[in-house]
């Protein structure tokens, strides 16, 4: 029973990180129809920004802030201006190809210009266990969970309780109507890219102490984000959170109780099942099909 609770907590922690990544992915998809195949690499990279800042002598908190800021500028602003904008006019496919190339570019870049080896990354809290409700859970998992939940809650408030957030949602749902209502659509789209930049940076800082900062990290993380986004419903931010958490928990439990060799297979099977049975996701709404 103890181990079940531990697995559940670490699963929730992983799931919360997946949720952050998936929410960013969904936001960008919803507002600009950009399917970002480099989202996993977007999570891999900010850890190296932080490490580089620390190599230059910055303390961890400052390095983390620099990492998030760089991520917002490079993975948010620059990504939109240099890659997405010139290509939107060609439709979805060239942009998909371009983000696949971008993922290769970022991966190789991190390998060639920083290191091909996994780098130890400072954790938020020391690796101790604490007793909660009669069982032992790792403090690190709880810290990750707390930061991720605060981030998601802040995002939720921004999107649902503020005027700005409502304008962003309107942009995502119906850009033409939003424009007629006087919402600066382009600025709203840019904002979602910036938010995505911040979310992936936070996810990166949370996940890197667990997996080490390594140039190949993006492969599994990107896949987890796609799967979470699709399970929850591609067109729903709430769905991405839900999908991420389900995925993290299932991943941990199935690895422990069913087969660790086929650990990676369960999320994929869930993905295929969801796509076939409910293509619009568990929480998403059916969109009109284009032929």
């Amino acid at each position: 029973m103890t181990s079940f609770v531990q697995l559940l907590v670490s699963g929730l922690a992983t799931g919360a990180i997946y949720a952050l990544i998936a929410v960013g992915f969904t936001l960008v998809w919803k507002t600009s129809q950009t399917i970002n195949f480099a989202q996993g690499e977007f999570v891999m990279l900010p850890a190296f920004f932080v490490l580089a800042a620390m190599d230059a002598g910055a303390p961890f908190w400052l390095a983390a802030a620099i990492g998030i800021a760089l991520s917002v500028v490079i993975l948010g602003l620059l990504f939109k201006v240099a890659i997405v904008d010139p290509m939107l006019k060609y439709g979805v496919l060239p942009l998909v190809i371009s983000t696949i190339a971008l993922s290769l570019f970022l991966k190789e870049g991190a390998k060639d210009f920083y290191s091909a080896l996994g780098q130890p990354f400072p954790a938020l809290v020391p690796a101790t266990d604490i007793r909660v409700l009669g069982t032992v859970v790792s403090a690190q998992s709880l810290a990750v969970l707390a930061v991720a939940l605060v981030t998601i809650a802040a995002l939720h408030v921004l999107l649902n309780k503020t005027r700005l957030g409502r304008a962003m949602q309107a942009t995502a749902q119906n850009p033409t109507l939003a424009r007629i209502l006087g919402i600066p659509v382009q600025r709203m789209i840019l904002l979602t890219f910036l938010i995505n930049g911040a979310l992936v940076a936070i996810a990166s800082i949370l996940v890197s102490p667990i997996y080490l900062a390594k140039f190949t990290n993006g492969e599994t993380l990107g896949m987890a984000a796609f799967i979470a986004a699709i399970i929850g419903g591609f067109n729903e931010v709430r769905g991405a959170i839900f999908g991420g958490i389900i995925l993290g928990v299932l991943d941990n439990l199935s690895a422990a109780y069913i087969s660790s060799q086929y650990r990676g297979a369960f999320p994929l099977l869930i993905l295929v099942a969801v796509i076939l049975v409910r293509p619009h996701g568990l929480l998403g709404r059916a969109e009109e099909r284009t032929i």
Binding site: V92, I97, E108, I230, Q261
Partner: protein, 323 residues
Amino acid sequence: MIRPATIVLVAAAAIAVVAPFFLKPFGIYLISMWAVLTVAAIGLNLTIGYAGQVSLAQGAFVGIGAYTVALMTQAGWPYPLAFVAAGALCFAVGWILGYPALRVQHHYLAFVTLAFTSLVFLVLRNEEWLTGGTHGINGIARPVFFGWSTGKPLDFYFFSVGTLTVLSGAMWRMLRSPWGRAFVALRENPVRALSLGVDTRRYTLMAFAIGSSLGGLAGALYAPLVQFIEPGSFALGLSFNLLLMVIVGGSGYFFGPFVGALVAVLLPEWTRIAQGYYLLIYAALVMLMMAVCPSGLLGLAARAAKALARRQLPALRAEGAGR
């Protein structure tokens, strides 16, 4: 009148025949690899360029084909039989995968095929009793046909290029059949094709299955070329690379895969000065090309030719030849 495209084609064929005699064994290996990857890319081009569906499963089909041939020939079956079996198996798997997967389209199909590739990788890695797990399969023999051994690099090159010629010839004919025209119709205007009585879903499925079987045949060539296969070779990276080859060459152009595979095979060698950075350069070039000309190198060539001569190069574009 001889069209410039015909001249380019004849020259390219002549180079393909003569070049290996002037190359070292490694060079011959590279161009053999080009022929093998081109077969897989032609298959993927049918799925993307004609049926208009993004598949990230082609690398997995190459893997299935390669393992089929490796296991069958080591169990004593003759190579030609294993070759056909690889194609047939991938056709069947493609059909079974495509049947449910093609209900969803566009980005969803990309994700389903991505999941499929990861699953195939896991099976190849974990089922050690069959595939040898991470150790892979060693010492795959090169085939002998009626006393002609393809054991030497040069012989194997001609075997690969011969197979490529036969398969691409078959593809060329198929695209000119009523069937093939239906594939083009799918790409150009699916709604119109549907209203003209083309069963779009069935033809999309057919294109996907045929494309997959070409992936399997490429795998059947890959195994004896490299003579050693392991699961890592057929992971997502290969599927991404094949996709990039098709796009870089020019998706929907008949000769797009030939050009794309050539770039993918030769670029690492040409940019050897850049050492480890070649993938970085390649990725940057792909992004640049997507921004400038998403229809690929042949699209760029067609555009240039149009600008120069103010007329199209219809022969380069497969569906244009019959006009």
